[in-house]
């Protein structure tokens, strides 16, 4: 079974966000990057399927060459090879353009399964998987918490509001991973050493044969701002018999919520 996992290198969740001077992006100085946490579930699921059914795992990233560090982590977890579609423009590309580039790479790989994390921390979009599925004419199951793979079909449980949907479909397919799908393994020392010998192929965006129309932006970021700051609140101290009625009064009369 040939499995592709698309992986993004993203700012760590603990990052304190500052807006860059341009006003259109975050300030990346001193920001630590990690493999998107949701992509780790995707890599782990690919590894489990490979252990059960055999095959090969290719991790694919897109962006500037910094992203190779994230791909190396996935290779250390156990993926077999990696491809980076390299172009600085892909760092800020919208979902359509990024998805179109990844779809082209995936098409060339002809996989049975394409995994993503449900969304990339940061842009929080969750659209690229649908672009890839659409352009490759594949079914998709998103936000998946349980997955069974047979030779030519899949059965996925996915999160919806207050319920789980069971989706069944044929392979090849695009699956996006949700927390709870599995527990991602840490790269072992052996895995880290082995990863040094595994190949990360760098493909130039221009080599993919995309048209000008393919890479034309569909969405522009006009401005990025910090959320409005909250004024200091009323902190009540004292006996339960005093503070609880005070709080209820505030919620009832001031906030008018209850």
């Amino acid at each position: 079974m040939k499995i592709v996992v698309c992986v993004k290198f993203v700012p760590d969740t603990a990052t304190k966000i500052k807006i860059a001077a341009s006003g259109k992006e975050i300030d990346l100085a001193d920001v630590a990057f990690v493999v998107n946490p949701y992509d780790e579930y995707a890599v782990e699921e690919a590894l489990k399927i490979k252990e059960k059914l055999g095959g090969e795992i290719v991790v694919v990233g897109a962006g500037s060459e910094q992203a190779t560090a994230g791909l190396r982590t996935c290779l250390a977890m156990g993926a077999d090879s990696a491809i980076l579609v390299s172009d600085p423009s892909l760092e800020k590309a919208d979902s359509y353009v990024l998805g179109t580039a990844l779809a082209r790479v995936c098409r060339n790989l002809n996989p049975d399964l394409i995994f993503f994390g449900k969304h990339a921390i940061g842009v929080d979009n969750g659209q690229v998987p649908s672009v890839v599925a659409e352009q490759l004419d594949l079914p998709q199951a998103t936000v998946v918490t349980k997955l069974d793979i047979q030779d030519k079909s899949f059965r996925a449980e996915r999160d919806i509001e207050g319920a789980h949907e069971i989706v069944e479909g044929s392979l090849p397919a695009v699956i996006t991973a949700q927390k709870g799908l599995n527990i991602p393994r840490y790269a072992s020392l052996k895995g880290i050493m082995a990863a040094k010998k595994k190949q990360i192929a760098i493909q130039a965006l221009s080599s993919l044969g995309l048209s000008a129309e393919d890479v034309k932006p569909r969405v522009s970021v006009e401005q990025m701002t910090l959320p409005p700051s909250r004024p200091p609140g009323k902190i009540l101290k004292g006996d339960v018999s005093e503070v609880v009625p005070q709080l209820v009064k505030l919620l009832h009369e001031e906030a008018k919520i209850i």
Binding site: T15, I26, D94, I121, P139, G169, R218, V243, L250, L251
Partner: protein
């Protein structure tokens, strides 16, 4: 010449989702400025549980097909796209619900256009272009984005746009639509829906959320949180610490790697307020913190806080709320 706004209306268990009415109301406001119509599209032909005309629809398209009896991304996508090709809307809007987030990006991909996902604000610029504000970095920043191609698409965050009460005097024409669907084009579909035990109200749509964190000390104490949530008619949430400790199911997790909520009232019990948790709830209108540590970062974002023992405070608060509601 594109005009008008197409709104995808989601139904679950035969009921129109409130979040779809929010999207419809938002579309109505934009359409009023554009002086163009709003078309509501739903899959199904049975009677609607909500009056879509009241909430802003000028026309209601009832799409039906044997292959649409259960949800499939590809089947619903083809349906929305075919309706869009017929009416050529300026914008296509929907809720950023689980279905919306699965379906509408596929529609955008098929139409070759952009989509602003999970927006908290939408407005017109230069007369007729759509611009939206959406939280990024789990709400640690806001991004104002412009959709550059028609139809401009956006999904709206649940519980942010008011559905309002609408106008019962409004009327809408209805129209049936049968999409052209081929079973060979639908490679996956929903076979079954299993309602989750224990999640009475969906967090992402709830108006009131009461969450428990590490301070709850164990799974056996979460009923205290649930009791307050029930008294308030709200949903129960949890911090990552509580979920990772196995005290409560991850479907209750609020935070950067959990759910993002935007309730009118968020009560954080025994939650210290790590950046990642705040990322999931900081757009709550009112935040109340109950924690025995006066230095807990949660107090920096709280509108009201009680420094005290939550095991004493929560039951007392639950009682007080019940008394207030019954008076």
């Amino acid at each position: 010449m594109s005009q008008g706004i197409l709104v995808f209306i989601e139904e679950r268990e035969g009921k129109v989702k409130k979040t779809s009415l929010e999207a419809l109301s938002a579309a109505r406001k934009l359409a009023d400025t554009l002086m163009e119509p709003v078309v509501a599209l739903r899959v199904g032909t049975g009677s609607l549980s909500a009056n879509l005309a009241q909430y802003g629809a000028d026309k209601i398209v009832n799409a039906q097909h044997e292959l649409l009896k259960t949800y499939s991304t590809e089947g619903y996508c083809a349906t929305v796209v075919q309706v869009a090709q017929k009416i050529q809307p300026r914008f296509i809007l929907g809720s950023a619900s689980a279905m919306g987030r699965d379906l509408l990006p596929r529609v955008a991909a098929r139409l070759g256009v952009g989509l602003a996902q999970d927006c908290i604000e939408a407005h017109l610029v230069e007369g007729q272009q759509l611009e939206c504000v959406r939280p990024v970095f789990a709400g640690k920043a806001y991004s104002r984005v412009r959709l550059l191609m028609a139809p401009a698409m956006a999904t709206l965050r649940p519980n942010v746009f008011a559905a309002g009460v609408g106008d019962t005097a409004r009327s809408a024409e209805t129209e049936p639509f049968t999409p052209e669907l081929n079973p060979a084009q639908i490679h996956a579909s929903v076979k079954e829906i299993r309602v989750s035990a224990g999640l009475k109200i969906e967090l992402t749509e709830a108006n009131i959320v009461v969450s428990g964190g590490r301070g709850m000390k164990g799974p056996e104490n979460f009923p205290i949180v649930e009791a307050l949530a029930d008294a308030l008619g709200g949903a129960m949430g949890a911090s990552r610490a509580a979920v990772d400790a196995g005290w409560i199911d991850h479907q209750h997790q609020v935070g950067q790697t959990g759910k993002t909520v935007s309730p009118t009232l968020y009560i954080a019990c025994g939650i210290s307020g790590a950046i990642q948790h705040l990322a999931g709830m900081s757009s709550s209108k009112y935040i109340v913190a109950i924690n025995k540590d006066p230095e807990a970062p949660i107090f920096n974002v709280a509108d009201y806080g009680i420094v005290g023992d939550l095991f004493a405070v929560l039951p007392a608060l639950t009682d007080a709320v019940k008394k207030l509601k019954s008076s």
